[in-house]
Symmetry: C2
Subunit: 218 residues, 2 copies
DNA sequence: CGGGAAATCAGGTAGCGCCCCGATGGCGAG
DNA sequence: CTCGCCATCGGGGCGCTACCTGATTTCCCG
């Protein structure tokens, strides 16, 4: 499949001002055209498919469905569609999850507006764009893990993620037990395992972690 | 002082993409000109004065000095300079603090890009711009407090804010007591008062509140 | 001056969070 | 098939949190 002359782009971000700014930046380029906008992840998936976009620019934190989830969904439904992740946070966790979800790039909002343009072109050429310190992070992690370069992301099991989410939403162990139809002791055990895996010590640290990961909104 | 023909605007936001988007939106208007940009609050104050801007658009959460602090500082140093607060959060707390700091408007990033244009024109006419639900919030609060319409913002005392911050940073009561050179009992008491004032029940909720308020980073 | 708000500290209690221990059934990989 | 991971559940212990009542000092404001 040859590179299309004009890249059809979808922008998804819950901030209207960011969307319209991005649209102006991209539309000013002759080889790019913004064909759709979305306010949340679910809308992004829907419109990206309907408008036959070549590339989707997704904000990591959006209502209803996060950018990460949307990227994974799009990757599954239409693999040839490229995705770029847009983020406020220079976060290792987000970066890994974005790449795992099949994103072709990870661009920080704090970067220059030319970054996003470069990222779009890199993605359409089939290569990847990462902001400079992201590369450093990746290399460091690669070395740290003895060159394995895989795994380690989802240290937490699905069930543990579920429990973590409820903890960070200020539910007590008893409330979590009732909601999940399990005993308090099991909740206790899950929390223990989560704390061990993450090297943390209490619910406050877990709460901050869950917010950083985008599992819940503050 | 007559309204200037062209409004000289400063934009302050730590996200380059937001800045350049905003700049494009505003520069497209014949009566507006973006004369300076800043990445943080301190730089915003400095450049707003140096460039003799008529209006400063400040993001609430920025490094070094928040938009709220910058607005208060500008209000003091140059009262005729108008300020608009730009925020991601539909947050009552931020709204009040912005107005208290002398801002002429409060615009949500999730709003349309025409909102900010309207807000700029309203500010230069000497009136205020608030996004619709902000007005509702203000009115509701006015009624709730029996028409007092003041106070109540800083429900927490400075000391309580200090304790809250340490709680949300995952310190135990004992650690907080050591850091502040007070007894555990006092810390306990402060936490109790904070929980009562905010109507919350545990440290997890306090953590989320502290993050929403920008007291700490997740 | 008198009152209120803020900050400090004390004692007590119930419950929950955090941390050990061990155990079982299911399920997929090797 | 066996091994390991996951999810489930139990007992017991200790310290901290959450909630209560009551008290003192300081300081500001009307």
């Amino acid at each position: 499949m040859p590179t299309p002359l004009v890249t059809r782009i979808l922008i998804a971000d819950d901030h209207g001002i960011v969307r319209s700014g991005l649209k102006r930046v991209l539309d000013a380029k002759p080889d790019m055209e913004v064909v759709a906008e979305a306010e949340d992840g679910a809308e992004a998936v829907e419109k990206a498919l309907k408008e036959d976009a070549h590339l989707a620019i997704l904000d990591v934190s959006m209502p209803r469905m996060t950018g990460i989830q949307a990227a994974a969904e799009l990757q599954k439904r239409k693999p040839e569609l490229k995705t770029l992740m847009l983020s406020m946070h220079d976060s290792e966790q987000f970066l890994f999850e974005a790449l795992k979800a099949g994103a072709s790039g990870y661009v920080l909002k704090s970067g220059a507006d030319t970054d996003i343009v470069d990222a779009v072109r890199a993605a359409m050429r089939g290569s990847s764009y990462l902001y400079p310190s992201a590369v450093t992070t990746l290399v460091r992690d690669y070395v740290d893990r003895g060159g394995l370069g895989e795994e380690q992301f989802d240290v937490l099991t699905p069930r543990e993620l579920e429990v973590l989410k409820l903890i960070a939403e200020a539910n007590t162990s008893k409330e979590i037990a009732d909601k999940l139809f399990i005993s308090i002791k099991t909740v206790d055990r899950h929390r223990q395992n989560i704390l061990d895996k993450l090297g943390m010590r209490d619910r406050v640290e877990l709460t901050r972690y869950a917010i950083r990961r985008g599992l819940i909104q503050p």
